[in-house]
């Protein structure tokens, strides 16, 4: 197990190097100069030159990359150009807001997705299965931000039982979490359903039934445990989707999280913010996948660590 862990952790390093290269050059090579946006139209050429030099943006790209990589290794994400604050400070305030939303959405996804998947697999072909499939199709198809606006209109304006936007209280978390979690629930229920269907065809299920076990035990003890593995993998990947989905939802629900920061960072070409946040997100997704793999290994003793 220890050797497996070390191997997996070492495997992360090349991923991060490649990701850092992509993250750095993707934005640098995109047209647009943060200094022009920041300094405004009334800035003189001298002022633009001075600010460019101040931010080190006049250096060759490879010099800027190594400076960036060097800082990241030391845990320094740089200074935001448009916020005049260290990116790490911005991360510190925005991360909990985004994480709170992502975890709540993941919870919503699981609570809806797993049972829906099980029921539609067990009642395969029935009306309820069709309804669940149709629901998941809608869930995957509708943009979370639009669903968010719809929920806000319904439950905060027309029937004011929940707050419209903002952050900080549990009530303010419900609407964005449901909006974001619905798409995830749809994905999870589809994976859960197909995985469960496959498992229920297995010989050991037939054996279990032949032994005379009750259907409940067959489904939950023998079926579910085996069918959950791909769902755990999907949940690991979901973190990436959820973080990406929170980008739009944070704009809609006026939550000053990482998504909102990232969008404004991209629009204003705030290189340190975008690069710092993307690298941070890459690390999160890579670690989440590692954790998912470890959980799978723990859930399925047949997986060998080699």
């Amino acid at each position: 197990m220890a050797a497996y862990l070390v191997k997996r952790i070492l495997g992360i390093i090349p991923i991060l190097v490649v990701a850092s290269l992509i993250v750095f050059f993707m934005l640098q090579l995109t047209p647009g100069d943060p200094v022009l946006l920041l300094a405004g139209e009334r800035a003189t050429p001298e002022r633009i030159e001075r600010i460019t030099a101040e931010w080190g943006l006049d250096q060759p790209l490879y010099v800027q990359y190594f400076a960036f990589a060097g800082r990241i290794i030391q845990g320094d994400f740089g200074q935001s150009i448009t916020r005049n604050r260290p990116v790490s400070d911005l991360l510190k305030t925005s991360l909990p807001i985004t994480l709170e939303l992502s975890l709540a959405a993941l919870f919503v996804s699981m609570v809806i997705g797993v049972p829906a998947g099980i029921i539609s697999a067990v009642r395969h072909g029935s009306l309820i299965d069709q309804a669940a499939l149709f629901g998941s199709l809608i869930g995957v198809s509708i943009p979370a931000f639009w669903f968010g606006i719809l929920l806000m209109l319904a439950f905060a304006v027309r029937m004011p039982i929940l707050p419209t936007s903002g952050y900080g209280t549990f009530a303010q978390l419900i609407l964005p979490a449901v909006a974001l979690g619905t798409a995830g629930a749809a994905r999870i229920s589809r994976v859960m359903r197909s995985s469960m269907l496959e498992v229920m065809q297995q010989d050991y299920i037939r054996t279990a039934r032949a032994k005379g076990l009750s259907e409940k035990i067959v489904i939950y003890k023998h079926g579910l445990r085996n069918a959950l593995l791909p769902v755990i993998t999907i949940m690991g990947l979901s973190l990436g989707w959820l973080l990406a989905g929170s980008v739009a939802l944070e704009m809609v629900f006026a939550r000053p999280g990482m998504g909102q920061l990232l969008v404004r960072g991209i629009l204003m070409r705030d290189y340190p913010v975008v690069q710092g946040m993307l690298i941070f997100l890459v690390i999160c997704v890579v670690v989440a996948n590692l954790v998912a793999d470890i959980l799978i290994a723990m859930a399925n003793p047949r997986i060998k660590f080699d």
Partner: protein, 538 residues
């Protein structure tokens, strides 16, 4: 039994989903419209206290610091200028109670009020104001406003509250620049700025801001809100009814970038004012119970710029033809839903006497346009690119314009850019035609865009005319403001004939406020940002 349960469950699900959609589809416009009479607003006894919440669809970048400013937008409530413009643009007392001009305006003496303090308790005297302007025009500080106050040659403190500005040349725009508290003229505590500096724990501009306006800076949570608190030692100026301090306890600016969300927050009463109501929401907001919508002229002019040194735009006949091909009224009606006026000049009618409209050059006459194109040697038209920033309204306008140009044989390809990419193209001098807007309130906008010393940036129109340069320079050094206005009127008459732009529309300033907001006032220069007279009746 199981089947019956299943059926019931599905029934409830369908009912629930339909309910959500039905509720969301319910148009608020169907509700009764409230009387939006501003006269009602001042009724009743003035009640102090309350937190006024204003939604902004933008956020100051990156700092609140007149010495280090990007776009020139500041929460005005924090700052006050040396002078404050009244509702008719006359400069009136601000931090200075009076001023006298000597030697034909080359010596300007300002009497600073002796009852004014900065928010940190520092007394405002001539020395502090002098230091403020020294920093503002300092080469090292390199403030954005440096050039707006470059007319100051030297300053002398005559006594504790008397400050003298010495000028090398007359500069009639001095008074209006001193009254522009929004960005350039906003006086802050120079000593606090020097003490805290731009970096570190207590960064000036993000953690600490020390002005002298009716409200003091409390905190700024990036992406979320900025909170200002009443400054109890504030002594008001004559443009306000209230002698000070402000009635409100605090003002909170919430940054809500999504218009739908802002409108919903306004509807449920979490937000008292929307600083900007997009045209597509005006009707919905107007019909909300307890909502009032203010619509007024703005300084904004949306236009199509042309690169005047590139063929075929180097031919004035082509530029005139393109002008005659565009029906501004249709664009105002369709894209801005009527909440804009067709534009027939380079500046907004808000300039009053200084505004010149040329309906002949900038009017609509497609047949004449085709004749002019033929005369210019393009009887079959030509192809060109029209650049547009990816804003919904501008893209819609571009599509309509594409159709209007096609009517006279000009085939236009629309290129969309986000703001950063758009600037890059302009800087790379790759533009042909491009949609832009300006909302500057000073006549210096004309040389700013059309003087050859600003070629190729910000003279994106690549207009070079030495005679016009000389006239701009001559106008800027007029002895009086009246003379300056007269000269700029003449300049505009001739500039219009050059048809450098296709002026499109003058969008309105649209602000929404709830019934709770009493004494609502919209200042033509400062907008809704001085809330000295406003109070909340909740």
């Amino acid at each position: 039994m199981r089947k019956a349960n299943k059926g019931k469950w599905l029934f409830f699900l369908i009912v629930a989903i339909s309910l959500v959609f039905a509720m969301s589809a319910c148009a608020p416009g169907e509700e009764a419209a409230p009387p939006a009479d501003e006269e009602d607003a001042v009724e009743g006894e003035i009640k102090t206290g309350g937190d006024l919440v204003i939604a902004w669809d933008w956020e100051p970048d990156p700092v609140i610091d007149p010495y280090n400013l990007g776009w020139g937008n500041l929460p005005l409530d924090i700052f006050e200028g040396l002078l404050i413009s009244d509702y008719d643009f006359n400069p009136g007392p601000g931090i200075a109670e009076s001023y006298t001009f000597e030697e034909g305006g080359l010596v300007q003496i300002y009497q600073i009020r002796d009852d004014r303090y900065f928010h940190d308790g520092t007394k405002i005297d001539a020395e502090a104001v002098k230091r403020h302007f020294e920093l503002l025009i300092d080469e090292e500080v390199d403030s954005m406003s440096r050039w707006d106050f470059a007319f100051i040659s030297s300053m002398e403190v005559l006594d504790e509250y008397t400050l003298q500005f010495n000028l090398d040349d007359p500069f009639p725009a001095a008074l209006s620049n001193f009254s522009w508290a929004g960005g350039w003229g906003g006086i802050q505590n120079p000593y606090a700025w020097e003490e805290y500096g731009p970096w570190g724990e207590n960064t000036y501009g993000t953690d600490v801001v020390v002005g002298s306006g009716p409200f003091k800076f409390v905190e700024w949570i990036p992406g979320d809100r900025m909170v200002l608190e009443r400054f109890d030692d504030y002594k008001s100026t004559p443009i306000f009814e209230n002698e000070g301090p402000a009635y409100l306890d605090s003002v909170t600016y919430r940054f809500i970038f999504d218009s739908s969300t802002a409108v919903m927050e306004f509807e449920v009463g979490n937000v008292h004012m929307l600083e900007t109501v997009p045209p597509e929401f005006v009707e919905q907001v107007s019909n909300m119970p307890g909502a009032n919508v203010y619509k007024g002229d703005s300084w904004e002019v949306v236009y199509i710029g042309m690169a005047c040194d590139k063929p075929p735009f180097d031919n004035v006949l082509v530029r005139r033809a393109l002008n005659l091909a565009v029906d501004q009224q249709e664009i105002a009606d369709i894209v801005w839903m009527g909440y804009a006026e067709p534009a027939y000049g380079y500046i907004s009618p808000s300039f009053g006497d200084a505004y010149v409209a040329d309906r002949e050059t900038f009017g609509y006459d497609p047949e004449m346009a085709m004749e002019l194109l033929a005369e210019a040697g393009y009887p079959d038209g030509f192809t060109a690119e029209l650049m547009v920033e990816n804003r919904t309204d501008w893209i819609s306008a571009a599509e309509i314009i594409q159709d209007m140009f096609a009517q006279v044989g000009v085939d236009v390809e629309i290129r969309q850019y986000e703001r950063a990419g758009y600037y890059d193209v302009l800087r790379a001098e790759d533009q042909e035609m491009f949609i832009r807007a300006h909302s500057w309130w000073g006549l210096d906008i004309l040389p700013w865009y059309f003087h050859s010393r600003n070629f190729p940036y910000p003279n994106y129109h690549r207009y070079v005319n030495e005679e016009m340069d000389a006239r701009f320079d001559d106008a800027d050094y007029s002895a009086t403001y009246e003379e300056l206005v007269e000269k700029y009127r003449d300049i505009q008459v001739d500039l219009a004939k050059e048809a450098i732009w296709v002026p499109l529309v003058q969008p309105m300033d649209i602000v929404a406020y709830r019934d709770e907001v009493k004494n609502f006032n919209f200042h033509p220069l400062y907008g809704i940002r001085y809330n000295v007279d406003v109070w909340l009746d909740e």
